[in-house]
Amino acid sequence: MSEVVTGKLTRKDFMSDQEVRWCPGCGDYAILAQMQKVLPELGVPREKLVFISGIGCAARFPYYMNAYGFHTIHGRAPAIATGLKVSRPDLHVWVVTGDGDGLSIGGNHLIHALRRNVGIKILLFNNRIYGLTKGQYSPTSELGKVTKSTPFGSLDYPLNPIEIALGAEATFVARTADVETKHEQEILKRAHEHQGSAFVEILQNCNIYNDGAWEPITNRATKADHQLVLEHGKPLIFGKNREKGIRLRSDMTPEIVTLGQGIDESQLLVHDVTNPSMAYILSRLGPNFPTPIGVFRTVKRMTYDEGANAQVETAKQRLGPGNLEAMLNRGDTWVVK
């Protein structure tokens, strides 16, 4: 399939021989490119990399990566990845999912993988639409959305992927966007470096069925006012001239303030990736606020796979390595002559 490569890998080494078959202009191309660019820097041998996906446009991702890849079934990639990572902690297991795959049919597996803190990296390509099935609304689509399946507008209040991940007490929660190439690379790197489950929402444009879904946030012309770049230890500042900031009212509700008229940085919220309430408030800033990108929360906790492997080791130490003969002969036995 592919040759064993020695020496430093390059972006090309991670490109598979398969023709990429997303629609021209799809945001998925950019994400693929960032992944292929960032991997050589991580020093992970190609054979130790596994991409596992469900079903959807996003889920075609593994075919295009020259690594191990498994394009599985709709919504279940986190479960498959869990079994793999637990029994093979030496592998780097990435899950690629969509807003439908990951939050609709697969919502439960996502939550459970995150709460278990299995050491897998979950990338959720959020285009707020079902791409592969040609344009039905998804769990992240805005209320009232008119799509093929909702000609009179959708009725369900959207799920907020970051909030759901936080609700499951995920240990690494971040957001980036397809077109924010540098930021994206940085976040992918940090997800890789995180010990436990990493959850990354990637704002992605589906130019066929939901073009411009992230328009003000990702558009070069408008993004300064609509993006809030989170950095640990830094105050929350945004705006073309970095003139606006976010402050907390005494009732714990956030407000936008303009720096200058008696207001300085010291009054602003300072981002802290270990503070759960901070992450929560940032996750639901609301429509009049800029959209945060960056790491919302990251904490260290035992991973499920570490725990599972430690139990195997402890059992071996305590009981000795498995002895088949002894196991078969356990308990009361007798001999018939």
Partner: protein, 622 residues
């Protein structure tokens, strides 16, 4: 501990001894009365004494139903004998009854003249009313047909443990051991194994060790000393095939079979499961063996459980999942992915009764067609079914062997009674176990993910992580050899046929079919799964009466053995007894175009031998 079955420990009493060939004892009481435990310990004593045996636990649906109710009765039946036996017995010779409800539920099965031992302390007005008795059956003369031994077992127990620091509630909980002790004496069973079990089980609580042993011995000694019992019975050791034996349940045998097979391959075992009655106990059992490189994963649901097992298989482990009917159908999409991905996966379906939630604690064998056909589109998997509790070991082992050799999902079909039942089991020699050789592909030279072994049609198993073999697989149709996604029409047909052919060829890798009885004749009875014992016994008895009837019991349901067609042709008629509406029957008819008929029972209960004999005889006489 190993005793020599030739000399079982025995008490020396001046009572009359009577030798019996075969006895069926049923213990029953409230679900809180510890009847399953008493039954299991009695089974163990009996096994150690060298009898052949078969058991049938019968759980109530409720965890702890209100005491004294009919629906709360928990029962355990054991059949033991000095000759080969195959079933837990149709009708008990002895009932050990802890309350009126137990008596009410079980009396109808007791043989005429049978023994009833009853704990009189529980035959209170309240309990009699709950059981629907207007008067006390122990006193109203309604049991004249039987030998009744009313005994205040509760009080005997309380007196036995006096002086220990136990409140009455805890103290009276020991009464199951008192009843067990008495029964053990009555049938000359050694109580030492039970003593050891108690010592081990309660080792953190010496008071409880003492209390339970005292209760056990009180029952035993009562039999020996009291005037009540004039006869002590004995069942001689059975003439089993020489070897070392232990008693084993289907659950334990299944778990050990999987563990042994994984151990032989040298690969880790990954068991992904979601609790469901009656499959959960296999998970519980396997979870104890982490030192065998075992991962057990209690997933969020059945889909995740099988998904994780498949993920582990992708990484080079023995991926197994265990479940029962309602969970089984949730796994079908993942099994279908394994069919496409051609990865080894083992799925154990412990069948239970009824569609939907049905009767979760009862047995049935009605998932066969679902296992065969319950996936979208044409997708063939291997299906195996053990016939007895002990055989679960070998079939579980075989499931792993086939899955890894052919890169295919294998469904292991057991049932409630098989998994909960027990029998004496000749412990296999590790060196005699079949070979399982797993060879991962590691050579990049000429590697293609779907290049097949010309004989087995198996594709290579590549552990993710192998340098130079990076490749992509998935659930979309794949191109022959390369495994690339393909929508080519001819390729699809080719791949569907290749996958089916791979499974079909496994027929060449299974032993010739064993026909019990004459190789040809009037009637062939074809069975599968847990009905084995009943069928064997029914058929043997009929053959003893000179009837021309033989028996084939299938362990391989897909593919079917290739010699089955010829065997069927040698008989005039074919009968297929099943605990369902006729599932194997459909397959046999479609496959061999023989006008086979079914004997079908759908009651959550096993076949009785008598029942089967009657129906078979009808057909013979037609």
């Amino acid at each position: 501990m190993t005793t020599e079955a030739g000399t079982p420990p025995r008490s020396k009493v001046p009572k009359r001894h009577e030798e019996l060939e075969e006895v069926v004892v049923r213990f029953a009481g409230d679900s809180g009365d510890g009847m399953q435990l008493a039954g299991m310990q009695f089974t163990n004593e009996t096994a150690v004494a060298g009898s052949d045996l078969a058991t049938l636990p019968d759980f109530p649906a409720e965890i702890r139903a209100p005491p004294g109710t009919l629906f709360g009765v928990s029962g355990f039946q054991i059949n033991f004998s000095s000759h080969d036996i195959f079933t837990p017995g149709d009708n008990p010779d002895v009932l050990v009854m802890m309350n009126p409800a137990a008596l009410k539920v079980n009396l109808r099965d007791l043989k005429p003249g049978g023994i009833i031992i009853a704990d009189t302390a529980e035959f209170t007005e309240n309990n009699l009313r709950k059981a629907g008795y207007a008067t006390n059956p122990l006193e109203d003369g309604s049991l004249v047909k039987y030998q009744v031994f009313p005994l205040d077992i509760t009080n005997m127990t309380l007196r036995a443990v006096e002086g220990l620091n136990l409140n009455t509630k805890v103290a009276s909980r020991c009464k199951n051991f008192c009843a067990l002790g008495l029964t053990s004496w009555l049938f000359t069973r050694p109580i030492e194994p039970t003593v050891r079990w108690i010592e081990n089980r309660f080792k953190k609580n010496p008071e409880l060790v003492e209390a339970n042993i005292r209760a056990l011995k009180t029952g035993y000694n009562f039999g020996e000393t009291a005037e009540m019992f004039a006869v002590q019975y004995e069942v001689k050791p059975a003439r089993l095939i020489p070897g070392k034996y232990r008693n084993i349940t289907g659950t334990a045998a299944t778990a050990l079979g999987f563990l042994a097979a994984a151990e032989r391959t040298g690969l880790p075992l990954f068991l992904g499961s979601y609790p469901i009655t009656p499959a959960s106990d296999i998970l519980h059992e396997v979870a104890n063996y982490k030192n065998f490189n075992v991962y057990t994963f209690q997933a969020e649901d059945e889909i995740a459980a099988v998904g994780a097992a498949l993920g582990a298989a992708y990484g080079g482990a023995i991926g197994i999942t265990t479940t029962s009917g309602p969970g089984m159908l949730l796994k079908q999409e993942m099994i279908n992915l394994a069919v496409m991905a051609e990865l080894p996966l083992i799925i154990a379906d412990i069948q239970r009764a009824g569609p939907s939630t049905g009767m979760p604690t009862k047995t049935e064998q009605a998932d066969l067609l679902m296992a065969l056909y319950g996936r979208s589109s044409d997708s063939s998997v291997v299906i195996l079914a053990p016939a007895t509790p002990g055989e679960c070991f070998f079939i579980a082992f075989e499931a792993v062997r086939i899955a890894t050799k052919y890169m295919v999902p294998v469904i292991f079909m057991s049932d409630t009674n098989l998994t909960n039942g027990a029998e004496p089991w000749k412990i296999p020699n590790v060196s005699e176990l079949p070979k399982i050789e797993v060879q991962f592909r590691t050579d990049p030279q000429g590697f293609q993910p779907y290049l097949r072994d010309p004989e087995t049609l198996s594709r290579p198993w590549v552990r993710a992580g192998t340098p130079g073999l990076e490749h992509r697989i998935g659930g979309l149709e794949k191109e022959d050899i390369t495994g690339n996604v393909s929508y080519d029409p001819e390729n699809h047909e080719k791949m569907v046929r290749l996958r089916a052919e791979k499974v079909a060829r496994i027929a060449m890798d299974i032993p010739p079919t064993d026909v019990r009885g004459g190789p040809s004749g009037k009637l062939l009875v074809i069975g599968w799964g847990g009905t084995y014992g009943s069928i064997v016994e029914a058929v043997e008895r009929l053959r003893g009466q000179g009837k021309s009837v033989s028996h084939v019991h299938l362990r391989h349901l897909n593919p079917l053995p290739s010699d089955l067609k010829q065997i069927i042709r040698r008989f005039e008629k074919v009968l297929v007894p099943e605990l369902n509406m006729g599932q194997l029957l459909k397959i046999i008819r479609a496959e061999y175009l023989v006008d086979a008929k079914g004997i079908n029972k759908i009651q959550g209960q096993p076949f009785k031998v008598g029942e089967l004999m009657e129906k078979i005889q009808e057909v013979l006489e037609e």
